[in-house]
Symmetry: C2
Subunit: 125 residues, 2 copies
DNA sequence: CCTAGTATCTTGTGTAACAAGGTAGCTTGT
DNA sequence: ACAAGCTACCTTGTTACACAAGATACTAGG
C-alpha cells in the first residue's frame, strides 16, 4: 500500500465513475417513480434495466437514499417479513416527483448540448 | 467577451456541476479536434457553441488542460504576440485523438443507457 | 489614474462515487 | 452442527473533479 495501488488490467475506470456523478440520483428517483422499492431491489433493477451500463453498488446507493430522504424527496417505510431481513421501502413524495421532473429536464438539456457538440465538425465551425 | 461569472441567483446549485464531471474533459478534447486553440479561446467556444449549457470557467479549464498535457494527450506551444498577453496553444496528439474517440464512445454508451432508462415507464417494467 | 478586457495560473473547499469493511437473517448442503 | 451463500441493511476512508475566489500581467480608452 505504499505508493500506488494496482490498477492492474483496467486503469481506465475513473471516467465512468465521473460520468455517473449526479446522474445516479436521477436514476434512483426514476426507478422509484415506477412504485416503491427497497434498496437492494433498486440496485438489481438499475443494473438489470441498463445491462450493466448503470452499475451501482449498495455502498453507493444507500448514501443517495439518505440524501433523498433528508431532502424530503422520498418517504420511508420498514417492512418486517415473516422470513428474511427487514426491508426499508422508499416512495417518492410530491417534492420528489417534481424534483425528478426538474432533474430529467436538466439532464436532457445537458445531454443534448453534449451530443450536439460532439457532432459538430471542424467545418461547421 | 467577458467572463461573466455571476450565475444569477443561487438556486441551481450542484447538480449541474456534477453532471459536467468527466464530460468537460471530453468536451475540451473535442474542441481541440477542430484545431489548436488557447485556453481562453476554448472557454468562449464552449460557452458559445452550447448556448451556455456547457458553461466552464477558466479556473476549471486550466487544470483540465494540465491533466491532458500530463497524460500526453495534447502538445503545448507558446505564442508571443506583438501586443497582448502571450497565449498558450494546445493541440491534440495522436494519443489525444484516440482518447477522444474512446471517451466519445463511452459517453454515448452512458447517455444512451440513461436516455433509455428515463423513457422506461412503469408498465414496461 | 482607473477601469475594463484579454490571458494565464493557484489555492482551498465541497462532495459524490466507491471500495472495503461490518451486522444479521434465511436456506441449502454435508 | 457447521459452513457457504444469498438477501438486506449500514459505515468509514479515499479519491478526484468542478469551482469560487483569488493573483499576475499586459493593453486600451476615458
Amino acid at each position: 500500500m505504499g505508493v500506488d495501488q494496482d490498477q492492474g488490467g483496467e486503469g481506465k475506470r475513473s471516467i465512468e465513475r465521473e460520468l455517473r456523478r449526479g446522474s445516479l440520483e436521477l436514476a434512483v428517483l426514476h426507478v422509484l417513480s415506477w412504485g416503491e422499492a427497497y434498496g437492494y431491489e433498486i440496485v438489481t433493477k438499475l443494473v438489470g434495466k441498463t445491462n450493466g451500463a448503470l452499475e451501482i453498488t449498495d455502498g453507493t446507493l444507500y448514501p443517495i437514499l439518505y440524501r433523498l430522504e433528508a431532502a424530503g424527496l422520498v418517504n420511508v417505510r420498514w417492512e418486517t417479513l415473516k422470513r428474511g431481513v427487514p426491508r426499508k421501502y422508499y416512495q417518492l413524495t410530491k417534492a420528489g416527483r417534481s424534483e425528478l421532473a426538474r432533474l430529467t429536464d436538466e439532464w436532457s438539456t445537458f445531454a443534448e448540448a453534449m451530443t450536439r457538440l460532439l457532432h459538430q465538425q471542424a467545418e461547421d465551425r
